[in-house]
């Protein structure tokens, strides 16, 4: 049953087909400790995406920019993932898709727990579910990466 559903749902824009064993186009906006661009890509999200790319036999290609510009590109399928330290309550939610939270913690000390997510193009559900499943099984690693980044 589950095996039969492995290529379900499908992507209208074939993102999975293009990225697996190829190139993952990642938009990166500086927001430490989640994302860093100086001197080279780093941070919790970057590390997670690196491992994800490795898991699907792909190479990550980084594009730097402001979060808004990157998300607009993502909306038009010009990027495959945007990493910008986004949380699940992002106002972009209707126009792009967000993953399951890879980490839920009170990270800004305001007493509420933020749900940290990555962003993917709208409606690329096969791609979204694949990344979701990866993030779900790597929640412990995300926590470890965060505590390393904060030291």
């Amino acid at each position: 049953m589950l095996a039969a559903c492995s290529d379900f749902p499908k992507d209208p824009q074939a993102t999975t087909q293009r990225a697996v064993g190829g190139v993952v186009r990642v938009g990166l906006s500086e927001n430490p400790p989640w994302t860093d661009v100086d001197p080279e890509p780093g941070g919790v999200e970057v590390e997670l995406i690196r491992r994800y790319a490795e898991a699907i036999g792909a190479r990550a290609e980084w594009q730097y920019g402001a979060a808004n510009d990157l998300l607009a590109k993502l909306e038009h399928f010009e990027l495959d993932i945007v990493a910008a330290g986004l949380t699940a309550d992002t106002p972009w939610k209707g126009r792009i898709a967000t993953t399951l939270p890879y980490l839920t913690a009170d990270t800004d000390g305001d007493g509420t727990r933020e749900r940290h997510v990555l962003a993917v193009p709208p409606g690329e559900n096969g791609w979204l579910v694949r990344l979701d499943k990866f993030l779900h099984t790597h929640q412990q690693e995300a926590l470890l990466l965060l505590s390393e980044a904060l030291q």
Binding site: C5, F8, P9, P12, Q13, G94, L100, G123, L128, V129
Partner: protein, 339 residues
């Protein structure tokens, strides 16, 4: 002018009323649970949203029925000398109007999504610690929104017919048609699964059209009831009770000619008979007896006043303000053999 006789639910139909009340409460509880369950599996599917909104709105008819029906059977009093039966019609209109609005809203929204080529996202849901594509629980939730609903509709329909309760009949029929909404939404979800993004908005558009059609039919029917259209059967067909009453009056020994007009108020009927008597002897007693007897002809007749007139032409212009089909029905009736 006698005060209106209070009509009570006939004894043999009281169990139907109690059963209907139970089913309505169960319906309300069930629909609330459906609304909650659907909310958690919406994703950004337009069809799922349409099914969810339709479900929430379909709580209104059951709630207004539960509120209005006990009011409708209250005894007439000084403030409401005709009784409270109109409460049914008002409740009916109140549950029909929102459907029009929702239908339009769903159509416009789905059309915009199609036009903007919005790709609906449906991601993952963690169930028992396992990430699962949200489409699967969504399909299950849709089944939950349809199957009990259809059963409730089938249970309500015979009760509604026996109680001559139009809002309840409309509600039961909508419930029975719920599998259409759920089916369309299911096709939308499966479409998303196959990567056919537009199928979702197309399904939502269909649901919207269906809701609009329903809203239109029910609004016009409920307005007709409130505006004193001639009586119809519970299903909305033509009721020949006015003709039967007129023929019955014509057959009375002291009556030369007669005409009848009737109107509907919720469960019950009010009517007036205009009678040309053969002679004026004992007229008051005869009219009283006839009016009392008329009440016994059908449990729904709440009041029947009989007015003696010199000739029917006096009332012709009014009582024959009956619609063309009504007049045709009457002519058919008159030409029936064996009368």
């Amino acid at each position: 002018m006698r005060a209106v006789t209070a009509v009570d639910i006939p004894d043999d139909r009281k169990p139907d009323y109690r059963k209907a009340k139970w089913i309505q409460w169960i319906t309300i509880a069930y629909l609330v649970s459906v609304a909650i369950v659907l909310y958690f599996v919406l994703g950004s599917s337009q069809a799922m949203r349409a099914a969810w909104l339709e479900d929430m709105l379909s709580i209104i008819p059951s709630v207004s029925w539960v509120i209005a029906t006990p009011i409708a059977w209250r005894k007439p009093d000084g403030n409401f000398p005709y009784g409270y039966h109109r409460a049914v019609g008002i409740a009916y209109l109140a549950s029909a109007l929102p459907l029009l609005g929702l239908g339009l809203y769903l159509i416009i929204e789905a059309a915009m999504k199609l036009f903007q080529a919005t790709h609906p996202s449906m991601g993952t849901m963690v169930i028992l610690g396992e990430p699962v594509w949200i489409g699967w629980p969504a399909l299950l939730a849709l089944a939950y929104s349809a199957i009990p609903s259809v059963i409730l509709g089938r249970l309500k329909l015979p009760l509604a017919r026996r109680l001559h309760d139009k809002p309840l009949i409309a509600d039961a029929k909508m419930r029975k048609a719920d599998w259409l909404t759920a089916g369309a939404a299911g096709i939308g979800v499966i479409g998303i699964g196959f990567g056919i993004w537009w199928l979702d908005a197309a399904a939502a558009l269909l649901i919207g059209l269906d809701v609009l059609r329903d809203g239109f039919a029910q609004t016009s029917r409920s307005i007709g009831d409130l505006a004193d259209r001639r009586p119809t059967t519970a299903e909305g067909g033509e009721d020949d009770l006015p003709e039967r009453l007129r023929d019955w009056l014509c057959r009375l020994s002291w009556v030369e000619n007669a005409d009848v007009r009737m109107r509907e108020a919720g469960h019950v009927l009010y009517g007036e008979g205009f009678v040309v008597p053969k002679d004026e002897g004992d007229l008051i007693r005869r009219i009283n007896d006839a009016a009392d007897e008329a009440l016994g002809l059908d449990w729904r007749v709440a009041e029947f006043t009989i007015t003696p007139v010199a000739s029917l032409s006096v009332v012709e212009g009014r009582s024959d303000g009956a619609s063309e089909p009504a007049r045709a029905a009457r002519d058919r009736h008159r030409s029936r053999p064996g009368r």
